[in-house]
């Protein structure tokens, strides 16, 4: 099946499953418009895992929730950009057409399992709803499917627990139920926004294993939003690093981990934490997104910043390696990338 699909994609000239281009989103606030996401580009191919990495406030959640227009509009507003699923732009679809995509082809898992389920309905009811929204099946048939899904995500005694309410489950179990719900219509893309952050460490590991196993089983792409580099190392095929609403670096997980190119990525990886540990905090604060300063977004915190970093636009994503790009003047014409690499090795006793 997956062989066949891969063949089919090749004939479509390698059309990406999801292709986000120049995505720009603003939020109306008391202090005027806040540009949360500013010209973000990235692709997700069939069956692969792409990680959106960044601190809170980097725009990763907004990016993910704009793809199927889950953000509240207003105050949110899509300024420009496209998000194409198999070449069809989702952002210009009617609400009705978009509804047919949501849950059916693109499913979501959110950060907070405690509140992701409606406390007024049984978990069975909620999974059944996810099935029946997209498919006209009887309650009995939907129940059968829901039970299969619950078994698959590892809920013990699914048959008896089907009629239990969310508050009767632990946080980890709730997140498994949310995952089961997301799988209801066998989506092509699962967008998981910090799915393990709210859980304790052992449960996190189990849930990541679950995501990995269902990904192979359903041949499903995952767009994973995280600030946990351990999670990235474990699951990602490719990484997109966001900072203050802009893409700083893109590349395969090997490239980004072995040779982080962008100064921001380097700081992040400087002291690579183990799984479950948050990003190292770095000095300074995010620039004001109501009125970002000119030049590179990272300039105020960058130890390599030069004069041209404070003028003009964010540097374009220059090629660094085969499939690795970085938005930094050091990789542009006349730049000297080695200056950055040397800077990094200085702190390495073995270097």
């Amino acid at each position: 099946m997956s062989q066949h699909q891969r063949g089919a994609t090749e004939t479509q000239q390698e059309l990406s499953l999801l292709s986000v281009r120049d995505l720009t989103v603003e939020f109306e606030t008391d202090r005027g418009p806040l540009r949360a996401v500013d010209g973000v580009d990235f692709d997700v191919e069939r069956g692969e895992t792409v990680c959106l990495v960044g601190e809170s406030g980097s725009g990763k959640t907004v990016t993910a929730e704009t793809i199927t227009k889950l953000i509240r509009m207003p105050p949110g507003r899509i300024v420009r950009g496209v998000a194409e699923l198999d070449g069809r732009d989702l952002l210009s679809l009617s609400e009705r057409d978009l509804r047919a995509i949501r849950g059916d082809r693109i499913a979501h898992v959110f950060q907070d399992p405690q509140h992701a389920l409606n406390h007024c309905y049984t978990v069975g009811w909620q999974i059944r709803e996810a099935i029946q929204v997209h498919e006209d099946v009887s309650d009995a048939a939907a129940r059968e499917r829901a039970l299969t899904l619950l078994n698959q995500v590892g809920i013990p005694d699914a048959t008896t627990r089907y009629d239990d309410y969310p508050h009767e489950f632990s946080g980890g179990m709730k997140q498994r139920i949310v995952v089961a719900m997301a799988l209801a219509a066998t989506p092509d893309l699962l967008i998981a926004d910090e799915p393990t952050t709210a859980l304790d460490v052992t449960i996190q590991a189990q849930l990541l294993d679950l995501l990995e196993s269902i990904q192979t089983e359903y041949d499903m792409a995952i767009l994973l939003i995280t600030h946990d580099l351990g999670v990235v190392a474990e699951l990602a095929d490719r990484v997109v690093v966001l900072y203050a609403g802009k893409v700083m670096e893109r590349g395969s997980v090997y490239e980004v981990f072995d040779t982080p190119a962008h100064p921001y990525t380097q700081v992040l990886f400087d002291c690579l934490p183990g799984r479950g540990r948050p990003l190292r905090s770095i000095g300074g604060t995010l620039p004001d997104l109501h009125d970002p300063p000119p030049g590179c977004r990272f300039a105020s915190r960058c130890e390599y910043a030069r004069k041209e970093c404070h003028t003009g636009d964010q540097p374009p994503l220059y090629d660094v390696a085969d499939a690795q790009t970085a938005s930094c003047v050091y990789y542009g014409p006349g730049g000297d990338p080695d200056a950055l690499r040397n800077g990094q090795s200085e702190g390495d006793p073995d270097g």
Binding site: E65, T68, L70, R72, P74, P75, E95, R99, A100, I101, R102, G103, D104, A107, H108, F110, D112, H115, A116, L117, N118, H119, C120, Y121, E129, A130, V133, H134, Y165, H167, V178, M181, A184, A185
Partner: protein, 322 residues
């Protein structure tokens, strides 16, 4: 859950019992005071204080042992033998039965209108937050909230009754319940009452619904592909119904206990509020007592309904019997 409801019911009975006992004690103290003053007056006018006391005690049944007085009182209460209203010349229960339909005539439409408008305006405001409609609804709600019912009623009565002559000024209790004449004379009182309650229910609904409009589970539902209308009804209104139902019951209690006085007095509706008002004016103790107790019972039953509504609507409530 059955056990929980049973416990709540039992509690309501106990509460009623306690309230009745306190009323009895208060009445007893009042009688003792009356007795003292009778003795005093008899002595002053040169009569036999002791004989006056005995006569009064016998007339009032105060010569019986205390526990008998208490038991008889409770039995009378339980059997709706609530005494005789001197000012109206009829049994207290009959007076209440006469007044109740008039109170119902405006409180039933009031309830229906409040629920219908309060919920829908509040929900629409919540889903269209900061839209023009929302601002207008917010403004009107504060207006309706701030304006005193009693004053508003008089103003409307003067305007529509006296100047424009659109509605009768004097309430006609003999108008058939379902007649145009009755509807016309009820329009203003219902309007006056609903402005305040729709305003408050709108605000509460908006606040509660907003909490769930922004909840993660609403986003989950949207991400599943559920339609806006279904989200609104099943994922927003359903959880919001829990707190809203209790607010509604509280509003209804407020109507019976406070608003009914003002509105019935202003518009001359011979309902429970006016009955109680006149009873106080005429110092008709059994009637005052009875109308007050009706209010108290409504409060007790209302509280019971609130609790039961909570348990039925919110599955997270632990009934303590699983």
């Amino acid at each position: 859950m059955r056990w929980y409801v049973a416990r709540r019911l039992l509690w309501a009975v106990v509460a009623t019992f306690v309230i009745l006992s306190i009323t009895w004690a208060l009445l007893y103290v009042t009688e003792q005071q009356a007795l003292t003053s009778i003795q005093f007056q008899a002595a002053v006018s040169g009569g036999d204080a002791e004989a006056a006391r005995a006569a009064y005690e016998q007339q009032r049944g105060l010569d019986r042992p205390l526990w008998r007085q208490y038991a008889d009182y409770m039995t009378n209460m339980a059997t709706f033998n609530w005494g005789y209203s001197t000012s109206r010349g009829q049994p207290v229960t009959a007076a209440i039965a006469d007044a109740l339909p008039y109170t119902m005539m405006y409180s039933v439409p009031w309830t229906i209108l409040t629920v219908a408008f309060g919920l829908s305006i509040g929900l629409y405001s919540a889903t269209h937050q900061y839209s023009r409609f929302d601002y207008a609804a917010t403004f009107l709600a504060f207006f309706g909230y701030a304006i005193p019912n009693f004053w508003f009623g008089i103003v409307l009565l003067v305007l529509f009754g006296v100047h424009l002559d659109l509605v009768p000024i004097v309430f006609d209790p003999d108008a058939p319940v379902f007649s145009l004449a009755n509807a016309r004379q009820l329009v203003l009182p219902v309007f006056v009452l609903t402005t305040g309650s729709i305003a408050s229910l709108t605000r509460y609904t908006r606040a509660e619904a907003l909490e769930y409009v922004e909840a993660t589970f609403t986003k989950t539902a949207k991400a599943k592909g559920v339609s806006e209308r279904r989200i609104l009804l099943l994922h927003v209104l359903r959880p919001a119904a829990v707190p809203l139902s209790t607010i509604l019951v509280a509003d209804l209690l407020g109507l019976f206990i406070a608003s009914s006085y003002l509105v019935e007095v202003v518009f001359g509706i011979p309902g429970l509020g006016q009955l109680s008002f006149k009873a106080i004016q005429n110092q008709d103790t059994p009637l005052v007592l009875a109308t007050t107790l009706v209010g108290v019972f409504i409060a007790v039953v209302g509280n019971l309904l609130q609790d039961i509504a909570y348990t039925v609507l919110d599955p997270r409530i632990d009934y303590g019997d699983r």
